[in-house]
Amino acid sequence: MILAILKRLLMLVPVLIGITLLSFLLLQIMPGDPASRAMGTRASAEELQAMRELWGLDKPLWVQYLYFLRDCLTGSFGVSIFHKQPIITLVAERLPYTLAIVAYSTVIALVIALPFAILAAANRGRLADVAIRQVFVVLIAVPPFWLCYVLILGLALGMGWFPTGGVGEGLLENLHRLFLPSLVVGLSTAALIQQSLRAALIDTMQADYIDTARAKGLRRREVFLRHVLPNSLISTISIIGVRISWIIGGTVVVEKIFSAPGLGSLLIDAIVSRDLPVIRGLTVFFAIMVVLVNLITDICYALADPRVRLE
């Protein structure tokens, strides 16, 4: 197992070389001169030249790439033109918030999805199943910004139950403060999990070994909890994995509305301010996260299903 994990991590190396090269070249072919884009149109020629030298933009392309590679390897991922700070510092400031949303929203999603998936599977094709599906389809379809405002207007401003945003101190306060943004992210995760878990439950309930379990005389609840549910949950692992990869960089709207600093808004801000090193560094960082989440997903699979081995 450990060996397999190390092997997988080793396989990361060529992947990362590819990703760094790609993100470097893609931003290189963006039109315009990075220095003037960063400095604005009113900068003088000398200022621009100084800027280019400072950021190594006057060097040949391959040298610039090597610089970038060095920055990635030393873990700084480059320095932000706008913030004048190593990108890893910027990431470190925002990562806790993003990870908190990841964990919190996933827990919320599971708490919501589990009972509704079970209810829907048990009443397949009947009113409850159809109604649940409709509600979750709507939840996937509503734009997150709309959901954010409805929740803020209703639960935060209206009822005064929750703060409208920001980040607080300590676990308890943040559980309270981050509830609404996590709910917004968690609801669509819940919809995804509910759909896939419902299908998995229905599938598993028809498996031969469920008949075997019933033939032993097990009660309905025992059959469900020991045989149907565990085997069905395995298939939702990958859904959760994919969803977490997305949440890490994809919650800009929620971060903006709840005025909370996450990785998504860091990327958008960098794009707006043309902070090329940040865009580049974050791209590589996100790629690493996706690969890592994938690896963790596969490890979870291998742990949950004895038939699956980590390759």
Partner: protein, 331 residues
């Protein structure tokens, strides 16, 4: 006195194209310690009959729509509420499914799966249940049983898995074991071992076995009595030697000519012309009439003919052919 007495059993499957009467008025008895074989073409309702006894229909929309399933000491299983029937399952009546590759939970260790049935019905602790599971694996001749307890199903061969399934079925020393094609999914050599194992356990435990099979060789080898099923009904039943040596119903005769393995010599197999009828709207009269070479116009009238004893046949040898009925009347 019979252990199991099935009377006029009717089982319906709900399907998109209508209600299939998979079992349509089936009656038979199984004596204590007896191995009762059921044969018939695919789709004639053998599995449905077996599954009706314990009301195990997988994911299918099916129900026992009528009849009685009288189990000695337990009462009518067909009328029993689900909770009560759950007590009978595994304890009084055990089920061995066709495919050992899918009959075991892939994510649960073998030992735990066997222990589960013991823990459900006996007041014993986990260690004791595990010890009993180990002994059960020994009883069904699983090699290095200690190691297998902690194995997962996929780590075992098909034959070993079927032994595990049998061990599980035998755990509570049930009075009746229902084995629905227990060897169809296995290699020929393994098939033989499994059948011998079943008979051996029957001999030592005194349980009755209902054995569904397509292999008449198997029937003549290990069954005491048998029934021939066609389109949801029994067309002939009796002691194995009598039915196989002097088949009385035209369908049985056609089946014997079509299925391999009866006598062991090189037989010429003649498939039965045509296909079994739909169970959603079966033909009137004898259901075999449309395919029967001997069929007369009156074979195609009225309800399906009942299973009756005949003058020329041994006691307990029944068949359901209208033509034999007429012969009786003439004699």
């Amino acid at each position: 006195m019979s252990l199991l007495s099935i009377r006029d059993l009717r089982t319906e499957f709900q399907s998109p194209s209508g209600v299939a009467r998979a079992v349509d008025g089936v009656s038979f008895d199984v004596a204590p310690g007896e191995i009762f074989g059921i044969v018939g073409e695919s789709g004639c309702g053998k599995s449905a009959t077996c599954r009706s006894i314990l009301r195990l229909f997988g994911g299918a929309q099916a129900k026992v729509a009528g009849g009685r399933i009288l189990l000695e000491g337990a009462g009518d299983l067909a009328a029993m509420p689900e909770r009560e029937l759950a007590q009978v399952r595994g304890r009084d009546v055990a089920f061995i499914f066709q495919d050992p590759l899918t009959a075991l939970n892939p994510t649960m260790r073998i030992g735990k799966q066997i222990a589960e049935v013991i823990l459900r019905h006996r007041k014993v602790g986990r260690t004791e249940a595990r010890a009993q599971a180990l002994q059960l694996l020994r009883d069904v001749h699983v090699t290095s049983p200690e190691r297998r307890l902690d194995a997962y199903p996929h780590e075992l061969s098909g034959g070993l898995r079927q032994r595990v399934v049998i061990a599980m079925a035998l755990a509570l020393r049930p009075k009746l074991i229902i084995a629905d094609e227990p060897t169809t999914a296995l290699d020929v050599t393994v098939q033989d071992q499994i059948l011998r194992l079943l008979r051996e356990r029957r001999d030592s435990l005194g349980a009755s076995i209902i054995l569904v099979t397509h292999d008449l060789g198997v029937v003549s080898q290990i069954c005491d009595r048998m029934a021939v099923m066609y389109a949801g009904r029994l067309v002939e039943s009796g002691r194995v030697r009598e039915v196989l040596d002097a088949p009385s119903h035209p369908y049985t005769r056609a089946l014997l000519a079509a299925l391999p393995g009866q006598t062991g010599r090189d037989e010429e197999l003649t498939p039965i012309e045509g296909a079994p009828p739909s169970l959603i709207s079966p033909p009137p009269g004898c259901r075999f009439a449309p395919r029967c070479a001997l069929a007369q116009p009156r074979c195609r009238e009225g309800g399906p003919p009942p299973l009756l004893s005949r003058k020329g046949l041994a006691a307990g040898h029944l068949d359901a052919c209208i033509l034999n009925e007429a012969a009786d009347a003439a004699a």
